[in-house]
C-alpha cells in the first residue's frame, strides 16, 4: 500500500439486520466526498459500490465496518465484517445468485446483484473471506 499518498479515512459501523439504518453509512461517505469536490461521476460509482457493500453487511454479515480511504489519485472502499464468511465466492459473484432469505427479499434487497455490481463499478476489486470474516476492497481511480 502506498502510504505516502494516503490522505484520509472515513469509517462507519454497520449493524447486522438493521434495515432502518441501511444506507446511512454510504450516504455519509457520499456527503463527505461531495464536500471534497470529487468528480460527480466518480462519486456516483462510489455511491453504488459503498451502498451495495453496506446492504450486504446488513443482510449477510454478523456486523462490520465500512471504510472509505482517500488517496491522492484513488479512493478505496473497504467493507470488513466479523463473519460468517462467504462459502462459495465464485457462486456469489454470479449475477442473479442470492442467498438472501425471502423475508429479506421482501424489503427489495438481496436480488443477487450485490457483488457483481460492486465489481462492475470498481477499477480494482478484491475479496478475501473466511468463517471469521470477509474483507472486500474496491478501488476507484480518480
Amino acid at each position: 500500500m502506498d502510504k505516502e499518498n494516503f490522505l484520509k479515512r472515513y469509517s462507519c459501523d454497520v449493524v447486522a439486520n438493521n434495515f432502518s439504518n441501511a444506507g446511512k453509512g454510504s450516504s455519509d461517505i457520499k456527503k463527505n466526498l461531495k464536500l471534497l469536490n470529487i468528480d460527480p461521476a466518480i462519486i456516483r460509482r462510489i455511491a453504488i459500490v459503498s451502498y451495495e457493500a453496506e446492504i450486504n453487511l446488513v443482510i449477510h454479515s454478523l456486523g462490520g465496518k465500512l471504510h472509505c480511504d482517500i488517496y491522492e489519485h484513488k479512493i478505496i472502499i473497504i467493507s470488513e465484517d466479523i463473519g460468517p464468511g462467504i462459502p462459495n465466492v465464485e457462486l456469489a459473484m454470479t449475477e442473479g445468485y442470492s442467498t438472501a432469505s425471502s423475508s429479506v427479499r421482501e424489503f427489495g434487497f438481496g436480488a443477487g446483484m450485490g457483488l457483481p455490481n460492486m465489481k462492475k463499478w470498481s477499477d480494482d476489486f478484491n475479496i478475501t473471506t473466511k468463517k471469521t470474516g470477509t474483507e472486500i476492497s474496491m478501488t476507484i481511480n480518480i
Binding site: 490522505l7 454510504s26 469536490n37 460527480p40 455511491a47
Partner: protein, 420 residues
Amino acid sequence: MDFSILLDSDKCRGCTNCMKKCPTQAIRIKNEKAVIDKNKCIYCGECIKACPYNAYSPYEVNKNDFVETKFSIAIPSTALYGQFPKGTEICNIQNSILKLGFDYVYDESYAAELTSKAIARKISESEGVKPIISTNCPAIVRLIKIRYLSLLDNLITVESPMEIAARLAKHNAHENFDVCSEDIKIYYISPCPAEMLSITNPIGTKKSSIDSVIPLNSIYGDIYREVCKNTKLCNSTPSIKGIKWAIAGGQSETINVSSYISVYGIENIIDILEEIENGKLHDIDYVELSVCTEGCVGGIFNVENPFIAKRNIDYIIKNTKETFNAGISDEVFNDLYEKNFFDIEIIKEDTNKRKLTLAEAVERMERIEQITALLPGLDCGSCGSPTCRAYAEDICDGHADLYGCILLKANKKRLNSEEL
C-alpha cells in the same frame, strides 16, 4: 432584477426559523437579520413559509405595466384554475384576466399537453440513463445542479410547459394578430418563486421567452372580482391532459409512462435523489418531483389550500370533455420536435469556487472537523449558522469567528473567572 425573494429587514427579527428550514443551508443571520446566499438558494420558498413575521416577499411588480404594453399576453399557470370555487368555468377565469387589460390569454394546458408528448417521445428514444427525472420544477433542477451533479444526465431535456407556452403564444400572436414579435410581451401568472427566477436566470442556456412574471397572489383579487361579476356560461376547452400538470402525478399520467413515481416535499425529494444516486430505482422510467405539496397547486403564491385546490382541479378534469385543441397537428408537432423546439439544455453551473487540490480539500475538511469538535453540537442557531457543522465551515472559510458561539463564549468567561 435577478432575485425573486426579498427580505424586509424591518420585519425580520433574526429568529432563525427560516435558516433552520432552508434545505441548502443558504441562509445565515448576520447582525440579527437573515441573509440569503444567492449561489446556494434554489428558490424553493421554504423560508417564505417558515417566517412567522412575513418578512419575505416576492419582488414587487409594476401592476399596470401590462396595460401599457403594445400587445400583452397573459399565461396563467394551470395551478390558477384550482384557486376558484369548485365549478368556476375556466373561460370565465380567462375572460376576467382579459378584462384586467391584457390583449390575449394563452392557456398553458395546451402547451403542457404538447410537453407531455415531447417527453414521451424523448423517453422512448432515450437509452441507458434511468430513471429520467422531470425538469418541470425549477427548484429541483437547481437542487440537482447544486447537490446532485451526478444526476444531471438523468434530467429530461425537455422544457417546462411554462416556457413552451410562452414560445407558442408568441408564435400564435404573431401569426394571428399581425403584431411584430418585439411588441409582444408575455406575462406569466405564477404560483412559484423558482419559476419567477427562471425568467431572469433560466435553467437552460437559452433566454426565456417570458418577459415578466406576476406572482399569482398579487393579481388574484383582481381576477376574482371579475370572475364573480361574469357568470355567463361559455364553452371552455382546456386540455384536460395539460391541466393535470398542476397536480403531483398528473405529469406522469399524461406522459403515459409505465413505471413512474411522483414525489413532493423537499425532504422526500432529497431521500429519493439519494436513492437514485445509490443506483437504486433503475427499474423506474420517470421520476416526477415537485417541491410543493401536491405539486404546483401547492405553490406558495397560491391562495387556496393545496388539497382543496387539487380537489378543484380534479373536478375540472372530471367535468370537462377530453379534447385536444392546441391547434397543432401531429405533423406540425413532429416538425417542431425535429427542430428542437421543446429542448432545454441543462448547463453545468460555473461556480466561482476556488479549486482546491484534493489534498488541500482534505486539509480544509480536517480543520472543519477540529472546529466542530470544539463546538457544543446543539445546533441552536444563535451563532447565525444553521448547524454547528455549518458554523465550523463558516469559521474555517473566514466568514465567522469562533466566539460567535454563545455557549463557547460563556464557557470562556467561566474559565476566565475560574482562573481568577
